[in-house]
Symmetry: C2
Subunit: 261 residues, 2 copies
């Protein structure tokens, strides 16, 4: 894979030959191998039990913003897709996250996690205690989808290729290391173990079939890089505010200063 590394940082020239689907898949996976946020020091702390309870709280509080933006992002994806069959498959993501009929959905399961960490729901859903950098990152994601072609929008979801591994690590690590966890609290991640592979199989298949030209392939590689940045930057902000140097920006949640039950 070494020869493909430059793909991740600069676009291939337009007069290059397009990659085969297998080469494109390898290039996408190489981006994940370098940039997916399972590699971030904050996740290593979280999964190995080195985070304090307050650091876990800060993570869950901020990550809620990401969860909350996902159905809005997927609505924006639907708005870009002309193909009804693709929309029919894609809408399952919104049903999974917002819930449908009796299922209360993934966002509700995330709130069970923040409940267990002692946060008031109104405080979590207001997003007022989240880091501004978190909110900027997740809004950039919604905006990226709107501003780009449907193919690129779909490619930005391909971080799901790498998600099952992180979820499995997280479930094992957090159940082992933190007292507040139990199967109910970890239900969000358990559910994603089956949802994410189904979602990313569809998205990867779509991208490999539809990204034929060099421009399209550059677009999808850029989209996945962008999305890795969306995830990574959230952990950078968490680390800076709650690990080192530990400077909480004005208005963001301060451990021990209330807003938790």
């Amino acid at each position: 894979m070494t020869h493909m590394m430059p793909l991740m940082t600069r676009p291939r020239p337009r007069d290059a030959d397009p990659m085969s689907p297998a080469e494109l898949e390898a290039a996408l996976r190489a981006i994940g191998a370098q940039r997916y946020h399972n590699l971030h020091p904050f996740h290593k702390m979280l999964h190995s039990g080195q985070c304090s309870l307050d650091q876990v709280r800060a993570w869950a509080l901020n990550r809620y913003c990401y969860q909350a933006c996902i159905p809005r992002k997927d609505g924006a994806v639907l708005a870009k897709i002309e193909d009804r069959e693709v929309r029919r498959a894609w809408m399952q993501r919104i049903l999974d996250h917002d819930g449908h009929l009796d299922d209360q959905g993934g966002i509700e399961r995330w709130l069970v996690l923040t409940d267990s960490l002692g946060f008031d729901r109104d405080y979590v859903t207001s997003q007022q205690g989240a880091l501004p950098a978190t909110r900027f990152a997740v809004e950039a994601y919604v905006r990226f989808v709107w501003d780009n072609p449907g193919l690129t929008a779909i490619a930005s979801c391909l971080t799901e290729l790498f998600a099952p591994k992180i979820h499995a690590e997280r479930i094992a690590g957090m159940l082992e290391h933190y007292d507040f966890t139990n199967d109910t609290v970890m239900a969000y991640f358990q559910k994603r173990l089956t949802q994410a592979p189904r979602d990313c199989d569809f998205a990867l298949d779509y991208v490999l079939k539809n990204a034929r030209t060099v421009d399209e392939q550059n677009g999808v590689l850029n989209a996945l890089t962008f999305k890795c940045n969306v995830l990574w930057s959230q952990l950078d902000a968490l680390y800076a505010a709650y690990v080192a140097p530990g400077m909480v920006p004005p208005g963001a949640w301060v451990p021990g200063e209330g807003e938790t039950r």
Copy 2:
């Protein structure tokens, strides 16, 4: 209602008192009474059997573009809505139009209608035979939703307040006057008789609860006016191309010149 007529054409001054919910509802209904496309001469022809079969064909072919944009428009609405409960309710519209699981949805039912009129499906779904004015109008609708606040986006759907009447007229008029119709062909409209009231009850309730300031109320009145224009302008274009003066623009479907089976 006469004293409210100016509301439909120009915004109320910002220092006016906001309307009560009942006054706002009356103002919305007054817009429909003046501007909803059931008043358009083309619809009067269609429902009374005065349209030729080719004029019905042109209508169904063009109206497909509107049907096809609706789930994309509703995806854009989802992207604007922060409230999960509102998204959960709104999602039903996408499920209705695109279909979900075994239900093939409203767009498929529209294609049954264009099938019955002798069009190839690929030609219909390519939208290549539609009038440019039709496509501009429906894309303007998707764009309006994206460019405006969620409240205004939701208000743009309130033409549904007036839809059940037109659907009932259409079912009766078309079954009576046209040989190609039967219950299967008219299934789209039959389904909308129950879907549209449910949808518009929710949207009207949301708008009346959330449009409190003069600016917000001006915004929702403007949104409904805009949406009436989206619908009306499609019929103007149809009338000009296929009734009088009967000038079909370059590339649009010409009766008798193929593209139908």
